[in-house]
Structure formats: C-alpha cells, structure tokens
C-alpha cells in the first residue's frame, strides 16, 4: 500500500504524539520510581492522582505537539528566504541562521570541541587531585563540584551530542538521498538551544568551581528550590535541543528518504540515528517531565507527591544519574553504526549478518535506556529491584556480542591495509569488548554490589565513553572528513592518534579497574596512600587521552590547509552520500 506524503506525515505525527504521551506517563512514573529507589518511604513516592497526570499532559502538549505542528506548517510554506548564502565558509551569522543540515552539523562540531577543551582541563585537574592522598589542591567540596561538573558537561555536551548532532546532522539526509532534514527550522532551533545550553552549562561549571559551587548536583537540587539554577537550566536547554534533533531524525527517515529505499534498507549508520532519534524523543520528554514535576511540587507548592516530600540531595543525584548513566549505553548505538560503516567501507566487506546487526542495534537502544539502574548503585533498593536491573544489564551483553562478532568477522576476512578510520574503529571495537566485560562484572549481582561506587564502575563508564564512543566519533570524522571538508584527513596521523588514544584509555582505566577490585571508592578526594600509585598511572593515561584527542583535532584542522581535493568518492563506496560532490552543494541532490 502506497501512502501519500500527507498521509505519511499524518501517521508520523500521530506516532510522535503517542510516543510523547507514553514518555510522559513514563516520566511521571520515573519521578516516582526515583523517589522510591532513593529509599524514601513507599508512601512518599505515591502521586496524589489526577493532578500529576494533568500537569504532565499540559507540559508535554505545550512543549512538543504545537511545536511540531507549527514548525511543520512553516516548513511546508518554506521557500528560499535567502538565509543560506552561497559559499561554504562565510560569516558567523550565516552559520547560526543557516537551515542547511550540513552547516548545522559543523556548528555542532565547533560547540562539541569547545566544550571538550573545558572538560579536558577539568579532567587534568581531577587527575592531579586524585594523585594526592589526603587533601590535595582541591578541597573535598571543590573536588566534588569539579567531578559533578565534569560528568554533567561530558555527558550532555560531548558523549550524547557528538555523534548524532555532528555526524548525524551532516550525513543523515545525504545517506537517505534527501535535500535537507524534514523540519529545518526545528533543527536550527535545536542548534540554538544547544549553543545556549553549552554556554550556560560551561559558565555554571567554571563559575561554580571558582566561587562557591553553582554546579554540584546537590547544589542544583537546592537551586531547584529557589526557582532554577544556572546549570539546571543548561541541562533543560540541552535536553530540549536533543529533542528537536531526535524529532528531525525520526521524521526525516520516515518522510524524506528516497522513495526507492525501504525503511529496513537505509544505511546502517542512518538506522542507528533513527533509533537514537526515538530514544532522544522518549528519554528527552521523560526527563523533562520528571524534573518539572519536582519543580512544580517543590517550587510552586502543587502537591504532586503524597506526604510532604522534601527533595533530598540524593533524590536529585539519582535523577541526574539516571539521565547520565544510560547515556553511556545509549551513546553506543550510533557509535556501533559508525563502526559498521567503517568496516564495510574500508575493509571492503559486505556487512556480516546485516539483519542481525540491525536487530542488535534495536535491542541495544532499548536495553540501554532501561538499564539506568545498573551502574548507579544496587544499594538502597530492594533485592527484587536489584535483580531486575542486574538482568537488564546482563542482557545488554547479547546485542554487543552480536555486533562485535559482525565487526570481527569483517576484519578477519578483509585483505585491506590499516588506515586512519580502520585504526579508530578497531580501537573502539576493543573498548566495546572491554566495556562489555566490565558490564558483566557490574551487572551480575554479587560482583556488582562489591564493585559499585568503586573506581571500577568509573572505569567501565570510561571504556564505553572515551574508549568506544569518542574513538568511534573520530573514526567517523576521519571516514567522512573528505565529504565534510572536501579534504582527506592524514591516514598515518589518524592511525597514530588512534594508537595513542587506545593505549591511553587503557593506561587511564586499567588502574581504576585494579583499584576497584581493591575497593577504592570513587568520587572521593581523600583516600588511603595505598591507592596513590594507581592514581599516578591513571593520571598519565588522562594526559595521554588529552594528547591523543588534540593530535586528532590538529590533524583534521591541518588537512583544511591542504590543496589536494579529496574528490566526490575517494573510497569507491556505493553509499548515497558519496554520489554528491565533496563538500556537497547547498541542497544536496537538487
């Protein structure tokens, strides 16, 4: 049955609205669950009834549905309004005002690099503190703020947006044979929100550490009570931005893909972006609602929770951890998409078991979202809840095993030589495996309870994030750099940067694994001298990671000065994005 474009749009908007409703109820439920998991009395976690649902519905309908309708209507009436100046590089205004998905993607890249520089400075600072037993350069209070600031910044400004917002924005329409995203204005709105959020969050962290803590999670909690703090608003802005991006991914895949490409036939990176789009819509709304319910209850004295719930420190920490920890698993989805594309293109192999890999990506997105309790802590929850999260966490190993198997089979069969993208992809795949092994320890109940809240848990997070996701991101940048910039990135330099990153990630996190086995607590500025040696080695790793990323960034930047044009299709790939010029013209295929 062939549907007309208008019918497809209708169905899509119906699907998004339904998801919104479900996400909303889920968000309300999550607020309750977080409250209970924190160990508040069961009675405290019960909602008073209709009030909550009504308020939630109100928020979501105000937030999302008219926005989609409005933007869609604007988009239908869209003609060229002269916003897109000809020429690829021009004034800053033309970048911020551009509706072109490629320019938006590149602007995201700049925002991500800017945020990373601040994060790297924080990580070096934390590494120095960790090397110092007893009170080091940072007081325990400042240390805590720096740790929270780093986690918040890294998750919301690098880990989650890096692949979808930069590479996803640039490549999704190209891979689908589309001229632009379905809702370009929504996309631009997302970028502006993200930039505002980036400025707000980084400012909050920098000011917070220098003055008196405007950033640490407990402080965010106290800010909620006084009407919203700086960092808190930053998180809301970023989440809203991600919601815009997610809606666009979903809509573009459904409506804008070329008529002869079936949904199951879109390139596998687009497939992973499509999945992450749904996760961003669902999780974004859930998170917004959960946080807003707390504000309404606490700030505006609308009784949503039975009894007089005081928003405790740990309530809020749990809420934000809930947002941060599944991020590691969810961020693996687009990373896995990139790895598959790289192995397919550079190992010159067909995707090994493509159907299975697509299913594995669905499972990873779903389980990753549900597994939020695993890396948090088993403590404070009933043994039944512990068992549930343990099982979900263990299940994530199945899709990861299927994906790994596919990549390794492609690697085993290839006759190709090592190059930049392949080097990053191999390093990333190995970190996938290391992270998965760590997840096995963390998810299984007995070992999980022993290792929770030790540096072991941080190390697993690190293997998944800096190892798997960041290396996949650079692999993707190296792979698609000819398309993005028109210049090829130096392959040897890429191999070197990948090697430095992989070694450094291990030097940084292996000592944390060993320390965790010995019971070294994480997030603690003061610890026994016996752990100082581990932290000393880990610090070298942190420096190595920073150096590796800087070398990779410098390699990409220096390629821009090269005169050798890469050409439209340097890899002889059959994928659609390589059929247009490098870089592509304003309206890709038009």
């Amino acid at each position: 049955m062939q549907l007309s474009t208008m019918q497809r749009r209708g169905w899509l908007i119906a699907a998004i609205m339904t998801t919104t409703m479900v996400a909303l109820l889920f968000g309300v439920n999550e607020a309750v669950a977080a409250d209970q998991l924190n160990g508040s009395n069961e009675a405290l976690g019960r909602i008073t009834g209709r009030g909550a649902a009504l308020i939630g519905l109100l928020i979501a309908s105000v937030l999302v549905i008219p926005a989609i309708g409005l933007v869609d209507a604007l988009n239908l009436a869209k003609t060229s309004k002269g916003l897109d100046e000809p020429g690829y590089l021009s004034t800053a205004g033309s970048w911020l005002a551009s509706l072109d998905h490629k320019r938006i993607g590149v602007t995201y890249l700049i925002a991500v690099v800017f945020a990373w520089i601040i994060i790297a400075a924080l990580q070096v600072m934390l590494g120095i503190e960790r090397m110092t037993p007893g009170v080091g350069p940072l007081t325990p209070e400042r240390f805590l703020e720096a740790i929270d600031g780093e986690a918040l910044l890294f998750t919301s400004l690098v880990l989650l947006p890096a692949i979808p917002a930069v590479l996803g924005n640039f490549l999704l329409p190209l891979q689908l044979g589309a001229n632009n995203m379905i809702w370009p204005r929504l996309n631009r709105l997302g970028l502006i929100l993200h930039l505002l959020g980036t400025i707000t969050l980084t400012a909050a962290v920098i000011l917070g550490i220098n003055t008196n803590g405007a950033v640490s999670m407990p402080d965010i909690a106290s800010y909620v009570s006084t009407g919203g703090g700086v960092a808190f608003n930053g998180v809301l802005l970023i989440t809203l931005g991600a919601l815009c991006t997610g809606l666009n991914f979903v809509g573009t895949v459904h409506i804008e893909r070329r008529a002869d490409i079936g949904l199951a036939d879109i390139p596998i990176f687009s497939w992973s972006l499509y999945l992450i789009g749904w996760v961003q819509v669902f999780a974004g709304i859930g998170l917004l609602v959960a946080i807003k319910l707390f504000i309404l209850d606490y700030d505006f004295a609308i009784v949503i929770f039975e009894a007089n719930i005081t928003l405790g420190t740990s309530d809020f920490i749990t809420n934000l951890r809930r947002a941060i920890h599944p991020a590691a698993l969810v961020a693996l989805v687009p990373a896995a998409g990139i790895l598959t594309e790289i192995f397919k293109t550079h190992a010159k192999e067909q995707i090994y078991g493509e159907g299975e890999m697509r299913k594995a990506l669905i499972a990873l997105a779903l389980l990753g979202y549900l597994a939020w309790g695993v890396q948090m802590s088993f403590g404070g929850a009933s043994i039944r809840t512990q068992a549930m999260f343990s099982f979900i966490g263990m299940l994530t190993l199945v899709p990861i095993a299927v994906l790994l198997f596919g990549w390794l089979m492609m690697l085993r069969r290839t006759q190709q030589d090592l190059n930049g993208p392949l080097a990053f992809a191999i390093g990333s795949a190995l970190c996938f495996a290391l992270g998965a092994v760590g997840t096995m320890f963390l998810s299984a109940l007995a070992t999980g309870a022993y290792l929770q809240d030790t540096t072991f848990a941080s190390a697993v997070f690190g293997y998944y994030t800096y190892g798997a996701v960041v290396m996949a991101f650079f692999g993707g940048l190296w792979h698609w750099w000819p398309k993005i910039s028109g210049r090829s990135a130096d392959s040897h330099l890429g191999t070197r940067a990948a090697a430095i990153l992989f070694v450094s990630v291990n030097v940084a996190y292996l000592p944390q694994v060993l320390g965790g086995f010995q019971g070294m607590p994480r997030n603690s500025a003061i610890f026994d001298t016996s752990m100082a040696e581990y932290n000393m080695v880990a610090f070298l790793g942190v420096i190595g990671i920073v150096a590796g990323v800087l070398i990779a960034l410098q390699g990409l930047a220096s390629s821009l000065r090269s005169n050798a044009a890469a050409g439209a299709n340097p890899y002889e790939s059959e994928s659609l994005e390589w059929t247009v010029s490098s870089p592509p013209q304003d309206r890709n295929f038009a």
Partner: protein, 335 residues
C-alpha cells in the same frame, strides 16, 4: 614499577580471584571469590576471542607490507547469518547463567545465618563521618568493628537520608544504604586487622573515612566489650560519644533530659554557652567548662533557679577526662 610488576604477576595466574582482590579475611568470602573467579574466566575467554582476529589482521597486514604474501583474489564467500543467531543464543544462555549465579551468591551474602551475632551499623555522622557500630545485646557502641573469630556476624545497616557505603574489602562486604535498612554478614575463623571504609556524600562534600575491622579471639572480644569498648584510643570514640556513654552509665539521664523537657534536674539541651543562667541564690553565671565541672564535682555549690539541691556530688567518682567528655557531649546538644 611495582605496580607494573604486580600486574604482570597477577596476569600470569589471572583467573584466581586472590590475585586481584585483597586477601580474604573471612571464610564467608569463599562463595564470592568462587563467583569472581568464574567471572574472570569468562572475561579472559571473551577478551582472547576478541583479540585473536584483531591480532591476525595486524599480522597479515605486516606480512603483506613485508611482501611475504600476495593479495589473494579469492573472495571468502557469503557471511553465514546462522552463525550470528547461534552466537546470540549462546551469549543469552551464558548471560542467564551468570545472572542466576550472581543472584544466588548475593542472596548468600546478604541473608545472615540464624546463629549470627548482630551488630547494628549507623551511617556516618558529622564531624568525622565514620560509621558507628552498636553491639546488640550490650550497651557498647564504637566506631570500630571488633568481632570474635569463629562466629558469624550479621551487620544490620540502618537507613538514613544521605546514602552511605560501608566497605570491608577483605570480607567482600560493600553495601550502599539509602533509607531502607540492609544487611550483610561474614564469618572469620582467624584473627586479624582489616581495612573498613565508610563513605558518604552530603550536600556539600564527600567523605571516605577509613577505620579498622578487627577480628579477635572470643576471650579478647569479651574483654573488649567489658573494658576497652568504652575507652578512647587511637581511632577510638570521639569525646562527645564517650560523654554520651557516661551520661548513661553514671545515671545522669535519670534527672537530666537531652530533649528540652524538665525532669528532676534542668535539661542539657541548649545549655552549653548560655551566658546568663539564673541560680537559686539570685546570681547568674555563664555555662562554660568551669561551670559544668564545678556542677558535677560539687553540685550543691550552684543550684539552678527553680530546682532542688538533690544531686549527689561526683567528686572522686569521675576523672578530669570523664568531665571533659561529658562537657563535650553537652556542648553538642547546644547547636
């Protein structure tokens, strides 16, 4: 260097839990260690399987670059989709197995045997953020965990608002406690001293307080409960807690409340630091260390207004240190 050496040494015998964990101080750790060892085995197998094709790729790469092998024109044939399905099912089965083992081990560790002696653990409190151990059936409480050997000990964790984590790696105990109570247990056959940690995170900072968990002979334990349990020592109780013990053991609590209610004598609540306390003879004094000391040693010398002179003199019954401890306790009630 020592770290690298010890790492290599441990890798040589990788699947033995004792190589990676602190040496076990309790027999009850054996179940955990067995599970941990099986996890290590899985980890080694998985990592070997993953590394093998990667190393092969680099090896063939090197051979080609050295010109020892030629490009083969043969294509390796179609991928076998069934392989991936089979792999998925095998991993799923393994996952269920490990999950079940983990759950079983965990239940084993948190449900104490019926004959275990019970120690209640209270979460970290300011100012030193250590945990406090209450020895059930006695009036002893301490910031040290001292237990008799050859006896199963159940730790009953009390819930509190801020999460806290108690970790005794040698016993494989690590419990994070929220508002719900939790429990854990261990049984140590031989005596020894082990690291115990209490970590918490409050609104403004995080704390990791190390203390010592001591396993002593039954005789030493009984002795400790009778004598040392109440005494300050290196890592012993802070003065205000010793003062609280004295408040009970000397019987002060019969007449002086700590909650503001007037009983036979005036309450201790918000007493310390008061600068115009009216006395029965019409004068007024500042409540400081000197006043409290004087009131304990010779109560009749300064009767508070509105109360009868019924308190016995404690001169000769308490030491200066005891008085200092009681004063510290009273001072904590005035905050």
């Amino acid at each position: 260097m020592t770290l690298a050496a010890s790492f290599l040494m441990r890798t040589a015998n990788a699947s033995d839990a004792q190589n990676w964990l602190p040496s076990a101080g309790a027999e009850s750790a054996a179940t955990f260690d067995a599970f941990f060892s099986s996890q290590l085995c899985w980890a080694m197998i998985i990592l070997a399987l993953v590394l093998l094709p990667v190393l092969l790729f680099f090896f063939r790469n090197a051979l080609r670059n050295a010109g020892w092998t030629k490009e083969t024109a043969s294509t390796p044939g179609e991928p076998i989709a069934a392989l991936q399905k089979v792999l998925g099912i095998i991993v799923l089965a393994g996952v269920v197995l490990v999950f079940a083992q983990g759950l079983d081990t965990r239940l084993n560790m948190v449900v104490p045997p019926a004959d275990a002696m019970s120690v209640t653990v209270k979460g970290p409190q300011a100012p030193d953020y250590g945990c406090t151990y209450y020895y059930d059936g006695t009036e002893v409480f301490s910031n040290q965990l001292v237990t008799p050997s050859g006896q199963a000990v159940a730790l009953q964790f009390e819930g509190q608002d801020d999460h806290y984590t108690v970790s005794i790696p040698a016993f494989r105990i690590q419990e994070t406690v929220g508002n719900h109570a939790a429990s854990s247990w261990f049984a140590a056959a031989s005596t020894g001293e082990f690291t115990a940690r209490c970590t918490t995170r409050t609104a403004s900072s995080s704390h990791a307080t190390a203390s010592v968990a001591r396993v002593v002979s039954q005789e030493d334990y009984d002795n400790w409960i009778l004598t040392d349990g109440g005494k300050a020592g290196p890592g012993g109780l802070p003065p205000e807690m010793l003062g609280e013990k004295l408040y009970v053991s000397l019987g002060c609590n019969a007449c002086h409340s700590v909650d503001g209610s007037a009983v036979i004598g005036p309450t201790f609540k918000d007493l310390y630091g008061t600068d115009n306390r009216a006395l029965a003879d019409g004068s007024s004094v500042t409540v400081d260390d000197v006043y409290i000391s004087q009131s304990i040693l010779e109560p009749a010398s300064q009767i508070a207004e509105g109360y009868q002179p019924v308190m016995p003199a404690f001169a000769g019954r308490v030491t200066d240190e005891d008085i200092a401890n009681i004063t510290a306790f009273i001072a904590t009630l005035a905050q």
